[in-house]
């Protein structure tokens, strides 16, 4: 069997990027075609990697390791396990859908696709890297392109939103970087290689007092990316003002890098500190769920509702991270995938609606199901998925997280279940105000997504939600093979 070469997932889009740079700016349809192809290829490779990963053997597979900066112990080290192979799949699907819905972008097309491609390449790099330096490196690559994309192609308050989002994320990254450097120096083995650090720390854990001050730096730093309460305020406004593709990618995938980093660098490497700090994080997670949910209830703006909803759902991920058991951690990774696909779908559909109606205010919308039955139906499905209705991936994910947290945090779990009710209320309210009821006559002439290619991104994401929701084993086996070892190292 041919073994997939992970470097191609990075190199092919880079090649595509350089092609896009060379095409004259007025050949927009060519630019669009190259970009879609450029994003489709790593998606296909990701599917291949996911399928070829041997979950029985477990561990890191398809590993590539090239020394990069020898004096500091930095290496270009790629590899996948059950967790990041799934996240690659998430990124592949979300980014392909994002590129397809970008067809509605009409101004400064070339710059748009260049920035979008850089963002996606950076995210792929972060998920593939098994070197702490390169994880950080790739994860920061996306920051400035996202700023520019929101500031140029966003809606009214785009400049404020872009600056706020970028400064929050970079502040988080800087805090996390100091934590990561302290971790690197504390091990004293002069390597950023995650696998080597893992092995070393299994045998010689860091002193507890050292762990206890490094751990919060990393968790709070990446927690800002993951919209940990009270550092979430950048997200609703950022997602609301961003162009559709960035809302999809950021809410769906980029912020999941925070959770991924917390699993890999904090919980797994410093388990003793995790037992001290994570209960506090679990408490904050409940505030995330309830507080952001209640704020979402008061919103009348469709994208703000989704933005607050996404912050609220990160609470479940944080709660699951605090469980220290396999079932909870499985739920976390499952939810990262399910929520990523769901929120990408919801933002894609909202983007379609906003493009047509030029408004996202629920009081002006109404009855859209009549003029756009396909989009409306998809939106209702996304809402049902988000509210945790069985049959969709989110249901299984949330059940796993709640089962995992039941033993440790009984009262918090009860509150978290209550949070699901809040989710159902604000999302169904959005559906009722936006898609049901009398149709605003202004919108009578609007067209639904008609061609197959226009419907494809939504159908693809929805199909993933349903398939994964009905056949959980196709991803649980992958996740389980990796979470097992992580949980073992925590006991």
């Amino acid at each position: 069997m041919i073994i997939p070469n992970l470097s191609w997932i990075l190199l092919l889009p880079m090649l595509g990027l350089s092609f896009v740079c060379l095409v004259p700016a007025d050949k927009t349809s060519l630019i669009r075609r190259i970009s879609s192809g450029t994003i489709l290829l790593p998606f296909i490779l990701s599917v291949w990697v996911y399928a070829a990963y041997d979950h029985v053997a477990g561990g890191f597979q398809f590993v590539q390791n090239v020394p990069w900066v020898v004096p500091l112990g930095i290496s270009y080290h790629l590899g996948v396990d059950g967790i990041n192979s799934l996240l690659l799949l998430l990124l592949g699907a979300a980014s392909f859908a994002a590129v397809l819905v970008s067809a509605s972008i009409k101004k400064r097309v070339k710059e748009y696709y260049i920035l979008l491609l850089i963002t996606i390449i950076g995210t792929y790099g972060a998920f593939l890297s098994l070197d702490i330096f390169f994880f950080y490196f790739f994860h920061e690559v996306a920051a400035v392109p996202v700023f520019l994309m929101i500031a140029i192609w966003g809606s009214e308050r785009r400049e404020f939103a872009a600056m706020k989002l970028t400064l929050f994320l970079v502040a988080g990254a800087a805090i996390a970087l100091i934590g990561l450097l302290a971790l690197y120096l504390a091990t004293g083995i002069q390597t950023f290689d995650l696998v080597q650090i893992q092995q070393y720390l299994t045998n010689y854990p860091l002193p507890v007092n050292v762990q206890n001050w490094i751990f919060p730096l990393i968790v709070v730093g990446f927690g800002i990316t993951l919209t940990l309460w009270p550092f979430y305020t950048w997200a609703p406004v950022g997602y609301a003002e961003a162009p559709t593709a960035i809302s999809m990618l950021h809410a769906g995938v980029l912020k999941k890098m925070g959770a991924y980093a917390i699993i890999r660098f904090a919980i797994q490497l410093m388990p003793q500190a995790a037992h001290l700090w994570m209960p506090i994080i679990a408490g904050l997670a409940i505030v995330n769920i309830i507080y952001c949910g209640l704020v979402a209830l008061t919103q009348r703006d469709l994208k703000y509702i989704l933005g607050y909803s996404s912050c609220s759902h990160m609470g479940y991920i944080l709660l699951g991270l605090a469980c220290f058991n396999t079932i909870g951690l499985n739920g976390v990774v499952y939810l990262m995938f399910a929520h990523g696909i769901m929120v990408a779908l919801a933002f894609a559909l909202t983007g379609f609606v906003v493009d047509q109606t030029k408004t996202r205010h629920l009081d002006e919308l109404g009855g859209l199901l009549k003029c756009m039955p396909f989009i409306g139906t998809c939106f209702m499905m996304a809402v049902l998925a988000s509210a945790g209705v069985p049959g969709f991936a989110n249901f299984i994910a949330e059940v796993l997280v709640l089962l995992g947290s039941w033993d440790q945090y009984r009262w918090l779990t009860v509150l978290a279940i209550f949070g699901l009710v809040i989710t159902a209320i604000y999302l169904l309210k959005a559906v009722r105000l936006g898609f049901q009821g009398p149709l605003n006559p202004r919108f009578a002439q609007l067209a639904d997504a008609q061609t197959l290619s226009a419907k494809f991104p939504y159908v693809m994401l929805l199909a993933l939600l349903i398939i994964v929701g009905c056949l959980p084993s196709i991803i649980l086996t992958h996740i389980g093979s990796s979470t097992k070892t992580i949980v073992k190292s925590m006991q």
Binding site: V69, L167, L181
Partner: protein, 490 residues
């Protein structure tokens, strides 16, 4: 001591060690002769053309000198890895500055030739700073550099700002020179020598006395003036704004790097044994410098002033390496400066090309630059983002190494302050980026970029990106420069 000055015998001079400086001096004398011999209004820019040829020749010559090590001129002059590293640094800087000069002073005609000669003089000064093994030579070479900078700063005789800048720079520079000499006198009084090797021997066997601490602080004040560290930064904003832009570029890169050689040579190496007793001062100054520079830069409306304050903040980041006092810290300084060279010169190239067409340095006039010249906008974007320290650009890895160095030396609080500063600086850099890429242009006319400038802009971009992605070889070079210093680090 085998190198007594004034002995009846002539000291034996190893000319191969000083060959680079000798060649630079020959080039200077030759160009003076050409300048005199040329008829007025010669039409072609002969001095400029000869300067470029000479510079490229010197770079090739420099690249063959990597293995050269030794001390000569009675222990005054040293050629070691650090000197070699920085001489290359200065030669590359000068390629950019000469090209900037050629564009910027097109209208000056005759007077441009003298400017080239002053640049050559500054180059000799910088190379000698890198090779100083004695306080006297170090003082003289810093003066050669600084005096030529005084003249160049005030070169636009009809421009009030330029004259004001020259005046301010001269007065504060003279004060700094005074501090430096005063500090040297205390050191001489204590150690009975100005030779670095003798002084290091004294330092390693004696404890620091209050008088020597006073001397160190005086010397640091003079260096602080060169690198623009708070509280010796008062001149920066006005001089950066008023000086002709090529001079600003030279001040922000070459002159600052010269200051850091002195810092590495003296405080890391010669006085290294006392480092632990006063590095807290360096750490505190580093924190104050970066915070001050960044906070004030937020409110600037002139791009040269903005880069002036940003250059203060970068002095603060660089001082982290000095505060760390380790090989990693010093190598971090070298690497950071290397990235800073391409990054900052890229920004100044854009400023020069833009100001020739737009006749303005106001940030407001940069609005919509991306629609007037894609190349200029893209270069400025990369330069600013690299200054802010974002991957995959050169500025990121420099900050990364310096942060690592200070955390390793136990200054986690300094690393946290630096982290806050990175966010503050990102704010004002992104405000400029926003002007360039988001706002609509005030004038629709495209900006023409001359071919020579396109070449240099491309070179600067390649430098920024290659150093940012393939960090290994450059970090190796930066480390070799520190590890191969002629006096072993204590």
């Amino acid at each position: 001591m085998n190198t007594v000055i004034g002995s009846t015998m002539f000291p034996i001079i190893n000319w191969s060690l000083v060959s680079l400086e000798v060649l630079i001096s020959i080039a200077l004398v030759f160009l003076v002769a050409v300048d005199i011999a040329l008829p007025k209004n010669a039409g072609k820019d002969w001095i400029g053309i000869f300067s470029f040829i000479a510079l490229f020749g010197l770079i090739i010559f420099w690249s063959t000198q990597g293995a050269l090590h030794g001390v000569t001129f009675s222990g005054m002059f040293v050629m070691d890895s650090l000197a070699w590293f920085f001489k290359g640094f200065f030669l590359i800087t000068m390629v950019f500055v000469f090209a900037m000069t050629q564009q910027f002073f097109k209208s000056l005609g005759e007077r441009r030739n003298e400017f080239y000669l002053l640049l050559w003089l500054a180059l000799i000064g910088m190379c000698l700073v890198a090779s100083s093994a004695d306080f006297l030579l170090m003082f003289i070479s810093i003066e050669i550099l600084t005096i030529s900078l005084y003249v160049m700063t005030a070169y636009l005789k009809s421009d009030k700002l330029s004259i004001e800048a020259g005046m301010k720079y001269l007065i504060l520079g003279a004060l700094a020179s005074g501090f430096f000499l005063y500090g040297i006198s205390f050191i001489y009084g204590t150690t009975h020598s100005t030779h670095f090797d003798v002084i290091q021997g004294y330092v390693s066997t004696h404890a620091m006395a209050p008088m020597t601490l006073f001397a160190l602080i005086l010397i640091f004040a003079a260096v602080g003036f060169k690198i623009a560290a708070v509280p010796f930064h008062m001149w920066v904003a006005d001089v950066y704004q008023g000086a002709p832009t090529p001079v600003t570029a030279l001040l922000s890169v070459g002159s600052k790097a010269a200051g850091f050689i002195v810092l590495i040579r003296l405080f890391f190496d010669v006085f290294g044994a006392w480092h632990a007793q006063w590095n807290l001062v360096l750490a505190v100054l580093s924190a104050i410098t970066m915070t001050y520079g960044n906070l004030v830069a937020m409110f600037q409306t002139n791009i040269k002033r903005l880069l002036g304050y940003s250059s203060i903040s970068h002095a603060g980041y660089l001082l982290m390496g000095a505060a760390a006092g380790s090989v990693l810290g010093a190598s971090g300084i070298n690497f950071y400066l290397l990235g800073y060279l391409f990054t900052n010169l890229a920004a100044f190239l854009v400023i020069i090309v833009f100001s020739i067409t737009a006749k303005s340095d106001e940030i407001a006039d940069y609005a919509g630059l991306s629609q007037r010249s894609g190349l200029l906008a893209c270069t400025m974007l990369l330069a600013l983002v690299s200054l802010a320290g974002m991957p995959p650009l050169a500025g990121f890895f420099g900050k990364f190494t310096l942060l690592m160095a200070v955390i390793k030396s136990g200054y986690v609080w300094l690393a946290l302050i630096a982290g806050v500063n990175i966010v503050i600086s990102l704010y004002y850099y992104l405000m400029v980026v926003k002007r360039i890429y988001v706002d609509s242009p005030r004038a629709a006319s495209p900006i023409a970029v001359p071919a020579s400038m396109q070449l240099l802009l491309g070179l600067a971009i390649i430098g920024i990106v290659v150093i940012g992605i393939f960090q290994g070889p450059f970090l190796d070079a930066a480390m070799t420069a520190v590890k191969g210093m002629y006096l072993a680090h204590p």
